[in-house]
Symmetry: C2
Subunit: 284 residues, 2 copies
């Protein structure tokens, strides 16, 4: 398998996730390079031994040394990068990504990509409420899921390589979904939950509530601290799926509201029994 031999990794976009990939791969003994916008991120990553070398300039000479290239960029920047620089890749290189939406970018990139380079999309479902390479931390992968979302354009060999990358990074599970299944699932589990947290936090000027807050409100709003540029882009790229999930939630919430208004205690209790039963699946 390609990835476990002597390959060189390039990380494009050295933020929290890119930096954490770099750290995990460097610690396994791989040679890892990076391209990112700010020189200070490169300097930091070299000093902390996350990468062997890096540059803020995209040049053919630098890019063509790498066998596997990981894109950890905002979705649209990722698409533009491929348009602009794909001629720099070494023939036979495999590229992958960490993007949180798939349908809106996977087909577009595979369509435009050179025949002799393969793109195997992946979504590492890991994160933190902080950003930047300074917060890179490979342990965020330990309890997290890594999803590969290949299409009919992908070869079994390259899919195997990118799945193996997930295992090398230390993810708890490595699974495979279609881009469409991925987007439905992420629309419900991740994007909808962020919409709920943002809306709840926006309800009130709430500073005076801090003294009365129990864990429930804290838990439901933890993810209301959000990178507005990134998440609004992700929401728009998964718009129709996310709208369906928001409408589904709103219909359930309205059911409960109306049961309360009409004092239909049996309906309320039934909804609570279902939620109690289902939540048990998620006990770690």
């Amino acid at each position: 398998m390609k990835v476990i031999n002597d390959v060189k990794f390039l990380i494009v976009g050295l933020g929290l996730i890119g930096g954490s990939y770099a750290q995990a791969l460097t610690d396994l003994g791989y040679e890892v390079g990076a391209i990112t916008r700010s020189q200070s991120s490169i300097d930091y990553a070299i000093e902390k031994k996350l990468i062997a070398h890096g540059t803020t300039e995209v040049t053919k000479e630098y890019v063509e040394q790498f066998d596997i290239i990981v894109f950890a960029l905002y979705p649209k920047v990722f698409v533009e990068w491929i348009e602009k620089y794909q001629s720099y890749f070494k023939a036979g290189a495999i590229i992958t990504d960490v993007t949180g939406v798939k349908g809106a970018i996977v087909y577009e990139i595979q369509e435009m990509l050179r025949e002799d380079v393969e793109f195997v999309p992946a979504h590492p479902m890991a994160g933190k409420e902080v950003y930047g390479v300074q917060n890179a931390d490979k342990t965020i992968f330990t309890h997290a899921n890594y999803i590969v979302t290949p299409t009919s354009k992908n070869t079994p060999e390259a899919i195997k390589t990118i799945k193996q990358l997930g295992r090398l990074l230390g993810f708890k599970t490595v699974t495979e979904l279609s881009p469409e299944e991925h987007d439905e699932m992420i629309g419900f589990l991740s994007q909808l939950t962020h919409c709920i947290a943002v809306s709840l936090m926006d309800c009130k000027e709430s500073e005076y509530l801090v003294d009365y807050t129990g864990d429930s409100f804290r838990d439901l709003t933890r993810i209301a601290k959000i990178n507005d540029a990134m998440w609004s882009e992700l929401f728009l790229l998964n718009k129709s799926e996310l709208l369906s999930q928001m409408d589904l939630f709103m219909s359930k919430f309205t059911e409960l509201r109306n049961a309360l208004e009409s004092e239909d205690i049996e309906k309320m209790r039934e909804m609570m029994r279902i939620s109690t039963e289902r939540r048990k699946y998620f006990d770690k």
Copy 2:
């Protein structure tokens, strides 16, 4: 102050909260008795040294020994208990409670109560997703808030005593609100969040999602494991306030949904910036 002298405490209702009160007070050297429905709870609490003694029978002889009586019952059972047995209290006794709604019960109980006994309502904002005296644990109070909700019927001396009880139990903060302020606050911070969690968990038969779930979905649904008998009763007793809070949330959620539908990215980002800013208040 009465409570720090040699007083005897009676806990009525030996579940998670009643048992944790008993444990904290016994550990401080107070004599604590209990009345509860099941003999096995009494036996357990005596064996684990949570209480000195207890009974499943409500008798004048037992009740009249106690100076401070804590009711840890469901709201309606609490009201019925007072109706039925209030003649058993010692003259000068102070009673308090742990009920999660206030307006719907405080005035009713104060109205019917004997002139020589005083009811100072309190709400310890602590809990767990497990029930019963077997899970009693006084450390749940350490990071929690204790709210006293007196009315014009209460005396400064008795309010002081019940606040002191909160401090003895080890709560992080002891504060005072009117019953109405309490119910608005709890409607938003606690009841609304439980409604959201229940509705979200009810959206899908979700067992197949477990492998893809990150922390966001787990955090937002932790409280979807819920005691349906107790919470439906609490919701109904705070119905109009909770309906207002649910409608407020729904209007914010709809704003975000409509911004997404119309691709109003500036509006989406603005809502995210507000939530990010406000959530900072709640960082521990």
